[in-house]
């Protein structure tokens, strides 16, 4: 699989950014689970699962980029007695997309407010079939992610238009930034600066989610 191109000066920063995304995602997942435990709101459990998947995806992505930054892919492969570095890198990238898409499908399913489990598994199957059967898995993965981000964003736009609350506004803007970020990632392969912009947009989105979380807890 191809990898997104990161400018050399941004190497390492991307891994730190992704680790920060993971921390925010896990924090939200933990609180969503607490809401589920206390209130019995079933959406809370699925919501927690979706952010846990996203958190795991970011940890994997951060680890991959950390190894790239430190030039340590080969060292780790020899330590783990893996013969091919390319296979190891493919496994890491595919694992990242596996968790990212699982997280987004789960989040999308939550926003659908449906109890039809078959719909969930259909979305999972269609997403992975699209990625695996595509001649350009990286582009296909980002495209699938972009489509889910767009639909989730529309849910949050509707949610804000119903409530007009500060929290729903912050979440709507956060997911708007995630849509922009996913768009940049889609074309990021052609230019390094887009890769950086995608990370900055994503950071903006997670900062907004964190601000919303802080305001709620205050």
């Amino acid at each position: 699989m191809d990898f997104p191109i990161c400018p050399t000066w941004f190497l390492g920063f991307d891994a730190i950014f992704e680790l920060a995304f993971a921390i925010v995602a896990f924090t939200i997942a933990l609180f969503a689970y607490k809401v589920y435990r206390y209130s019995g709101v079933k959406q809370g459990r699925l919501f927690a699962a979706s952010f846990t998947f996203l958190g795991i995806a970011y940890v994997l992505q951060s680890l991959f980029n950390m190894l790239t930054w430190r030039n340590a892919h080969e060292q780790l492969c020899s330590a783990l007695r893996i013969s091919s570095v390319a296979i190891f890198q493919d496994i890491m990238i595919y694992s990242f997309f596996l968790f990212l898409i699982l997280g987004l499908v789960t989040l999308f399913y939550v926003t659908m407010k449906t109890k039809r489990q078959r719909l969930y598994w259909l979305l999972v199957a269609l997403s992975f079939a699209t990625i695996i059967l595509s001649p350009h898995p990286l582009v296909a993965s980002y495209l699938v992610a972009l489509i889910f981000y767009l639909w989730i964003f529309l849910h949050f736009v509707q949610n804000y238009s119903r409530k007009h609350k500060r929290g729903s506004l912050l979440v709507m803007f956060a997911f708007g930034l995630f849509v922009l970020s996913a768009t940049q990632f889609l074309f990021g392969k052609t230019g390094g600066i887009l890769y950086v912009l995608a990370h900055i947009f994503q950071l903006g989105g997670y900062v907004l989610l964190l601000v919303n979380f802080y305001v709620m807890k205050k």
Binding site: F31, A32, K34, V35, R37, Y38, S39, G40, V41, K42, Q43, G44, F47, V110, T111, K113, H155, F156, Q158, N159, R162, K163, K165, G167, S168, L170, V171, N212, F213, V215, M216, K217
Partner: protein, 91 residues
């Protein structure tokens, strides 16, 4: 406006807290504005979640009080409500 699950749980717990944290079920019923059947269901669930404890007093009568976890719920309630609202997680 129709109350959701979280609001009903909150109303039961706040009634317990504000009324000296030791109440008979009939008083909770009156103050929380629920039917007998619904209150029984909710109290069962709250005890299962360890938010409320039941104590048997004389003549088989029962009294209910908040547990430390119940007090914790009340402290976190507005954050949880805000969380559900901001992500549109209402059922």
């Amino acid at each position: 406006m129709k109350r959701n699950r979280l609001d009903i749980i909150h109303d039961i717990l706040i009634v317990l807290k504000e009324r000296g944290n030791n109440m008979k079920p009939t008083h909770i019923l009156y103050k929380s504005n629920l039917s007998h059947k619904m209150l029984k269901l909710y109290l069962g669930e709250l005890m299962e979640k360890e938010l409320v404890r039941e104590e048997a007093i004389k003549d088989g009568k029962k009294r209910y009080s908040l547990t430390p976890k119940g007090f914790d719920f009340l402290r976190e309630f507005s954050a949880m409500k805000g969380f559900i609202e901001s992500y549109g997680l209402e059922e």
